[in-house]
Amino acid sequence: MSVIYMLLAISVLVALIFFVAFIISVRKGQYDDSYTPSVRMLFEDELVEKDSDVSNFNQLDNPN
């Protein structure tokens, strides 16, 4: 049961890693604006190779 010392140590360590990640993200300014990312992620990513992708797709659907 003395393994509990190691278990505690590991879990506290993991917790601390996440905590450090939190601090880093706040410092980088990720929490300054919490609204805009929610809108931004809904924008459609327009692929630059849009035309070639679309035409491939069409060919698959429509073998003519």
């Binding site: 509990i4 505690l8 506290v12 905590f19 601090i23 300054d32 609204y35 805009t36 924008f43």
Partner: protein, 791 residues
């Protein structure tokens, strides 16, 4: 003819309809922006949100001052050899389309590396290559697509804004600790005396202790310092019982684990701090894109055009203007200093500064004051006093304007906090004292237990969550309040004072009445064409609102500045203008805006042009008169008095020709009588009164326009809802009182356990979060409920 809506800006196409690409636009400006977007692969803009655009404003040379490297340096956030970064405030940002197009600026000009929009602040942070696109070109580009940045003296002098992230860190640490401590304290809630538990609980305790250290000394530091300051100044605010609770919790828990008396209350401690900080976080929401602290500097431009001795123009920062300089003021520009008009026709709008509704006509030799806006046509002026000494700046520096009597306000939470602390301390000592007789060993336990469980949590959370939520609800409806204390003060108001020009009246539309002989069609056509040739504001207004007729070039046209117009076509002759010009006699009502007409020397009649009053103003006043005393204070002349008397409830006091200082004094007088005053205004001339009142509300037609320092900004479209907003605020205070009642309930239950010496950590750990969460849920639901009816 049915009106179609413009594809670009969404507004109805009223005066003309432009057809292009199978779509309708209200003007060429909108069509141009559409074309720009279409040609640069930005059509997705219209798919995200319809009609999100804005007609771009013409701005030849408006941004020339940005070419000056000294000025640009003050505005840029960062500059390198070619890599520049600027943060621009763009008021038109209002939807997802705006975010998308602004973040895809590089498609419009490859000189832009990237840009990121901060939507709540309505700002765009743009990285650009100064070699490929200059700052001026960038700003002009944004302007051309309808997203003109707002660059005022305030931005120039402001410097880098420091983002305060301390609260986020504190909240993060408290939450982190709370979760982990709860996790570690779980085993001991339910089992005690179990062998393995007994063997290892020591390490659990000390880890919990370690987690709680940053909670007390970093996250809770705000409360501890505030309580200390409050005690030092002899007052008891809500932070005193909070700090007391934190300290007692920490000390007792540390003693318990050191002496192996129990597991301590670290879980309740971190939970307490976490919920309190959550309340603070929620309360601190601000409308970062609006400034409630505006002073005259955000009204002034950064640079003006100075005419050098050889006649050439140069752009100089406004503070460098010296006495004797000759400046060129373009149309729709501000006059930055007290000066004398040298050349050109002055048509000055002083409505922001004095409240006068009509633009004044000035000619060469007349004196002009800082803050007036030249409406049309360029003028040359000679500076009499530099910016810092103008009438406007001196008015602003007047002690009365800047002193803020509102800081003395003690909010409800602090007032209750005082009573709460006294009550808790009394109960604690009485209970401990009683136990000293019954079983002395329990006395200390009971003393600390009472101090721990009597949680000011619920009290401290009630107001922030209620009012914070109300702030959010009001903001969605166009009523932007600065902070929760302003809302609390709003609920106490009993008298409401209104400014007239720009507040009760809207400068966007005018109402025109004609009395006299009706004009024949030929006369009406001649009239319309004569008006069209004149640049005078009254001519323009009248022209816009007369029925449309064909445009026919006149045979002869003469404009007599400040007096009237003469137009001739074939045999017909028409004279349009002031009473003296057309009839030779002075006007019946001096100061009113009358336009008289005579055709072929036969007097026909006259138009009276007045500012139209906001729709529903009369109704609003009637609604408010039930609960508030009302008054109107205007900087304008008395010409509208009769009309106002009809519009407003009888016996409403009205005062005209009020200078800014007089408005301030009026408010002070009322306050001396013991009244709690609410002032509603819009311009610089209201600034003093707005600061002196208990609550100052500024009406805004357009987010881009200046509003003076105030506690709340009301969108002009929501003006008629003012009564509703005030009523909901009063109801919200009732919700806070109800929350206090709930809190009392929790405290009674908790105190039962504490006083009888039965306070186990698990009970404290349940009660505290329970009370906090239930208060939050209740206040949020209740405020959403009372706010549901606002349109």
């Amino acid at each position: 003819m049915p009106h179609t809506n413009c594809f670009h800006c969404g507004l109805p196409c009223e005066t003309e309809e432009v057809h292009f690409d199978e779509k309708s636009f209200c003007c060429h400006g909108c069509k141009t922006v559409y074309t720009i977007f279409r040609d640069n692969d930005l059509s997705y803009y219209y798919e995200l949100e319809g009609g999100a655009g804005k007609t771009p404003e013409l701005n030849q040379g408006k941004f020339d001052y940005l070419d000056d490297p000294l000025i640009a340096e003050r505005l840029l956030e960062f500059q390198d050899d070619s890599h520049h970064i600027i943060s621009l405030s763009i008021p038109h940002i209002h939807c997802s389309s705006c975010i998308w197009v602004l973040e895809n600026l590089n498609r419009l000009n490859p000189g832009v590396y990237s840009s990121q929009v901060d939507f709540p602040r309505k700002e765009a942070r743009i990285h650009f290559n100064s070699g490929q696109i200059s700052l001026r070109e960038l700003v002009s580009l944004l302007s051309a697509i309808g997203y003109e940045p707002s660059i005022t003296l305030e931005h120039y002098e402001g410097g880098a804004k420091k983002v305060d992230r301390k609260l986020i860190y504190q909240l993060g640490i408290a939450g982190f600790a709370f979760g982990n401590i709860m996790f570690l304290s779980f085993p001991e809630y339910f089992e005690s005396g179990e062998y393995w538990l007994e063997k290892y609980k020591g390490i659990f305790h000390w880890i919990m202790f370690a987690f709680s250290l940053p909670v007390v000394f970093y996250s809770g530091s705000g409360y501890l310092t505030s309580a200390y300051k409050s005690l030092r100044s002899g007052m008891l605010n809500i932070d005193v019982p909070i700090a007391l609770g934190i300290l007692v919790l920490f000390i007792r828990s540390t003693v318990e684990i050191a002496l192996d008396l129990g597991q301590g209350f670290f879980d309740s401690l971190s939970g307490l701090v976490f919920f309190l900080l959550l309340g603070k976080f929620f309360q601190q929401r601000t409308y970062a894109f609006l400034s409630f602290e505006r002073d005259y500097r955000s009204y002034f431009p950064i640079a003006v055009t100075r005419l050098k001795a050889d006649g050439s123009e140069e752009s100089i920062p406004v503070h460098e203007v010296l006495k004797g300089d000759r400046l060129l003021i373009k149309s729709s520009s501000l006059i930055p200093t007290d000066s004398i008009l040298l050349r050109g026709e002055g048509r000055i709008d002083y409505s922001f500064v004095t409240g006068e509704a009509r633009a004044l006509s000035k000619k060469s030799g007349d004196r002009l004051y800082a803050g007036g806006k030249q409406l049309q046509g360029a003028i040359e002026i000679e500076v009499l006093k530099p910016v810092s000494q103008s009438y406007l700046t001196e008015l602003w520096s007047d002690a009365a304007f800047s002193r803020n009597p509102k800081t003395a306000f003690r909010n409800l939470t602090d007032r209750i906090g005082k009573r709460f602390t006294i009550a808790v301390l009394t109960i604690a000592f009485v209970a401990a004292g009683t136990w000293l007789f019954i079983d002395p060993s329990r006395a200390l336990n009971v003393l600390t237990a009472v101090l721990i469980i009597a949680c000011p949590c619920a009290i401290a959370l009630a107001a922030p969550f209620t009012l914070g939520n109300l702030l959010r609800i009001f903001g969605k409806k166009g009523f932007y309040v600065k902070d929760t204390e302003s809302l609390e003060r709003m609920a106490l108001v009993d008298t409401a004072i209104f400014d007239k020009t720009g507040t009760l009246t809207t400068t966007r539309k005018n109402s025109i009445d004609y009395t006299g002989i009706e004009l024949t069609e030929a006369e009406a056509i001649l009239l319309k064409n004569t008006l069209r040739a004149s640049g005078h504001p009254l001519s323009q207004t009248l022209y816009q609102q007369l029925a449309p007729y064909n445009i026919i070039p006149l045979d002869n046209f003469e404009e007599h500045l400040g007096e009237g117009l003469e137009g001739r076509l074939d045999d017909a002759r028409i004279r349009v203008g002031s009473s003296e010009f057309v009839t030779g006699a002075p006007p019946a009502q001096p100061g009113g805006s009358e336009v008289h007409i005579s055709s072929n020397d036969n007097y026909k009649g006259h138009f009276i042009i007045r500012n139209s009053y906001r729709e529903g103003a009369g109704r609003l006043f009637e609604e408010l008169s039930r609960d508030y005393s009302l008054a109107v204070l205007s900087g304008d002349n008395e010409s509208e008095k009769a009309y106002l008397q009809e519009l407003l409830p009888p016996l409403t006091p009205m005062y005209f020709n009020q200078k800014p200082m007089e408005k301030l004094q009026f408010v002070r007088e009322l306050q001396r009588e013991g009244k709690e005053v609410l002032m509603v205004g819009d311009g610089l001339n209201d600034a003093g009164a707005l600061a002196q009142s208990k609550v100052g509300i500024a009406i805004s037609e357009d987010a881009n326009l200046f509003t003076p320092a105030c506690d709340a900004i009301l969108d002009s479209r929501q003006f008629t809802n003012l009564g509703v907003f005030l009523g909901v605020t009063k109801k919200a205070m009732k919700i806070i009182y109800m929350s206090f009642g709930f809190s009392l309930l929790y405290n009674v239950v908790g105190l039962y356990f504490a006083v009888t010496g039965q306070l186990e950590p698990v009970i404290a750990a349940i009660l505290m979060p329970l009370s906090s969460i239930s208060i939050v849920a209740f206040t949020t639901a209740a405020t959403n409920w009372i706010g549901r009816n606002i349109e």
